[in-house]
């Protein structure tokens, strides 16, 4: 049953957000590709390079271009080209080296932003990743709004631009991000997929390399529209298993899940107050509101937390964090709250001072199945039903609509 495990997550999104659960909902997959990443870092670090043709790579006789800036690409320079060839094509290009350490640093900044947006991030390289944002619409708005917000945050925080493709699957998202580089934002939906794909040259299809492309050209197949004219049997006869995959891909069909190879480490909410809170009960109320929000996000993303961390900053800007491990991984609000409250109460008992910031996070996260217990089954089912019912109401009406009696709902939606 390949893929079945991963799909549970999306099913959950369907049941909660769509009025008619029989309507299949598109996934929301983003492919984010940093524009000329190495060259852009070089320009960032040396603004005098701005607007110039830049080749990143070594200078030795056998050196190759790792990245060419868009100005250099206009002269026919590209990645993996021998540096000597690139310099011949673009003699006025500036050749620079970007230290690997600097690349890793900027890459980490970019991926940290991905993690803030989404717990399901599949990195493809240092500057490229898939994000599965299905179910985040309530929190972040339409898929286009999410993509725009992501691009803005990346630009503001790293000084770099990214091209983003938004689509119902990885194949289309990847193709979409390439369509409007640099600084692009392209959306492919199940409505426009046919119009977008059919005119494209076959070489643009993800997975079609030069050899396959040449074979297809020899058969007079130039566009994806042409390719769609072939039956699956004909494609299989010619290309074997690849034929079956071509048949699906040229129609924009791709069911592969986004498989994170390093998941978000934690999910957290925190809040800084305009005036320091002088009452422990007041702080507790906000902490409970944030804990409810964290629980909702865990459940929405199908994650379990192994532990809880509470962060308190007082009026003198002293920050303490206190962590506790859960007996077993959980996504239940009451379990998270028992720990968060315990941590906060211990801090308060040691000497409460007015609080400037309170926050709670749950992590590390796991997707491993939760081991059920023998002696708490009834209680557990009840708590779980409470969480599930509350999640549906909050999804629809916002956290102000429903929260635990003493809680001040988290300001963020969701």
């Amino acid at each position: 049953m390949p893929g079945v495990w991963g799909r549970k997550h999306y099913d959950f999104g369907v049941t909660v957000t769509v009025p008619n659960p029989t309507t299949p909902t598109d996934r929301v997959i983003l492919h984010v590709d940093m524009d000329a990443f190495f060259a852009a870092i070089a320009v960032l670090d040396d603004p005098s390079l701005e607007g110039k043709a830049v080749l990143v790579g070594g200078t030795g006789p056998r050196a190759v271009v790792t990245t060419a800036s868009y100005e250099a690409r206009r002269f026919g320079c590209g990645s993996a080209m021998p540096m000597a060839v690139a310099r011949r094509r673009c003699p006025h290009a500036v050749v620079v080296k970007v230290p690997g350490e600097r690349i890793r640093e900027k890459s980490a900044e970019v991926f940290a932003i991905f993690d803030e947006f989404c717990p399901l991030v599949q990195p493809l390289s240092v500057d490229e990743a898939f994000l599965d944002m299905t179910g985040s619409q309530r929190l972040l708005g339409t898929p286009v709004a999410m993509a725009r917000q992501l691009k803005d945050v990346i630009k503001r925080r790293t000084g770099l631009t990214a091209s983003v493709g938004v689509a119902p699957n990885k194949l289309l998202a990847k193709m979409a991000s390439e369509m409007d580089k640099p600084d692009g934002l392209t959306v492919i939906t199940s409505e426009n997929v046919d119009a977008v794909l059919t005119p494209l040259p076959v070489g643009r299809l993800w997975g079609v390399g030069p050899a396959t492309e040449a074979t297809l050209h020899r058969q007079g197949i130039q566009t994806l529209g042409d390719l769609r004219g072939l039956s699956e049997a004909a494609l299989r006869k010619r290309f074997g298993d690849l034929g079956g995959s071509l048949y699906r891909r040229c129609r924009g069909i791709d069911a592969r899940p986004v498989v994170p190879d390093r998941e978000a480490k934690s999910i957290g909410h925190e809040q800084t107050f305009a005036h320091d809170l002088a009452e422990a009960d007041e702080v507790r109320a906000f902490l409970l509101g944030h804990t409810e929000a964290v629980g909702r996000r865990l459940r929405r993303h199908g994650c379990l937390a192994r532990g809880v961390t509470v962060k308190v900053r007082d009026g003198q800007f002293r920050t303490v964090t206190r962590s506790a491990t859960l007996e077993e991984p959980s996504d239940r609000t009451d379990v998270l709250w028992a720990r968060a409250k315990g941590l906060f109460d211990a801090w308060a008992a040691a000497g409460f001072v007015p609080v400037r910031l309170i926050g709670v996070s749950a992590g590390p996260l796991t997707r491993g199945g939760e081991q059920l217990g023998l002696f708490d089954a009834e209680d557990r089912d009840k708590r779980r039903a409470v969480d599930a019912a509350a999640d549906v109401i909050v999804e629809r009406f916002g956290s102000a609509a429903l929260h635990r009696g003493s809680a001040r709902p988290s300001r963020r939606r969701g």
């Binding site: 495990w5 199945g369 059920l372 023998l374 089954a377």
Partner: protein, 370 residues
């Protein structure tokens, strides 16, 4: 005291009683083993950690001079183990002991034997008697399921529950529960009232090693918050675990309407193979039951996936998918003594029951399939 011992027998006896001795204690005498040489009873070894005490006769000895010795257990153990002789001589005078071989002589400074806690005794008649092989089975089929720590219930021990001639032994860690039933012989025929005790795991681990002669009979008695086990050559006494055992019969499902029968060995092999592609992040093995057979599948992120088909000689009920921690299944399958196991289920989020005949039952909670 002077005793000539068969070295092999002494090595075994010292290893057994040595399991009770604690390495670090404010009372140095507790790091010792007490030896008693007696013309009638031969050589007896005793050790205690104050919770658990054991007394064991070492066979194949010749007592030259009766008496007692109190010797650091790890030293004596090492000397006897490393010795190259078939027989060695233990002698003691007060707190100094000597171990003599054909080419060696060790002098060990021990403690005055009178400093040792009182010898354990088995007071009066036993409550009941049980065949050592049966007792061994009851403990082996349950001991593995105990909890290491649990605040709510006293489940870091094994429950012995006897009603007349019936003995039920139960252990649980809150995720699974093992129950073994057996027969015993109550000393008093009118003794029909249910009696129960929670026995620490350490005592039962020792019991498994101590009473390995299936033909022997074991006398058992509850007295003064202790449980005592006695055979012809050994006595084991242990304090009981205080606290409440959870209401275990409440969590044994009786409403399973999906029933499967499996060959034990084939099932073990399939679970072991499916477990190869699980990890800390995704511990569960998915089991899909239907009249077509059983399919086990597992998936470890970034590692891969496994799928194994197992024939189902019998299946009754609707198809079912349920996930289990494979280690929990294997723990039970390892102690099963039948060629077939029977499984009962109600639903994917309800406990599963594994049984072999009337004498062994195992309840295991599933993992939520993601």
């Amino acid at each position: 005291m002077k005793v000539i011992c068969d070295r092999g027998a002494l090595v075994d006896a010292l290893a057994l009683v040595g399991r009770v001795v604690v390495a670090r204690t404010p009372k140095p005498v507790l790091t010792c083993v007490k030896l008693t040489g007696d013309a009638d009873t031969g050589l007896t070894l005793e050790a205690t950690d104050t919770e658990i005490s054991v007394r064991l006769a070492s066979p194949r000895v010749e007592v030259g001079e009766p008496g007692e010795a109190l010797i650091p257990a790890d030293k004596l153990n090492a000397i006897v183990r490393e010795s190259i002789d078939a027989t060695i001589t233990l002698s003691a005078d007060g707190d100094v002991a000597e171990v003599t071989g054909s080419d060696s002589k060790f002098k060990i400074y021990g403690h005055p034997p009178g400093d040792y806690p009182a010898a354990i005794s088995f007071p009066g008649e036993p409550d009941f008697t049980i065949n050592a092989g049966d007792l061994h089975r009851l403990v082996a089929q349950t001991l593995f399921a105990t909890a290491r720590e649990n605040s709510r219930y006293a489940i870091n021990g094994v429950l012995f529950e006897r009603t007349g001639n019936k003995l039920a032994v139960v252990a649980t860690d809150g995720h699974r529960l093992a129950l073994a039933n057996g027969k015993c012989k109550a000393t008093n025929k009118d003794d029909k009232e249910a009696k129960s005790a929670i026995v620490p795991t350490k005592a039962l681990q020792l019991l498994l090693q101590l009473f390995d002669d299936a033909e022997q009979n074991v006398d058992v008695k509850l007295a003064d918050n202790q449980i005592l086990f006695k055979t012809d050559d050994a006595v084991l006494a242990s304090n009981l675990v205080e606290g409440n055992f959870p209401p275990y019969s409440d969590v044994i499902p009786k409403d399973g309407d999906k029933k499967a029968t499996l060959d034990t060995d084939g099932f073990i092999s399939a679970v072991r193979r499916a477990a190869l592609l699980t990890n800390e992040e995704s511990k569960g093995v998915r089991m899909a039951f239907s009249s077509d057979g059983l399919t086990l599948s597992s998936r470890a992120p970034e590692m891969g996936e496994a799928e194994i088909s197992v024939p189902l000689p019998e299946y009754a009920g609707d198809p079912l998918e349920i996930g289990f921690n494979p280690a929990y299944l294997l723990d039970a399958l390892k102690v099963v003594d039948e060629n077939q196991v029977h499984l009962d289920f109600k639903a994917g989020n309800k406990p599963g029951v594994l049984r072999t005949g009337p004498n062994f039952l195992y309840v295991v909670m599933p993992v939520n399939l993601q």
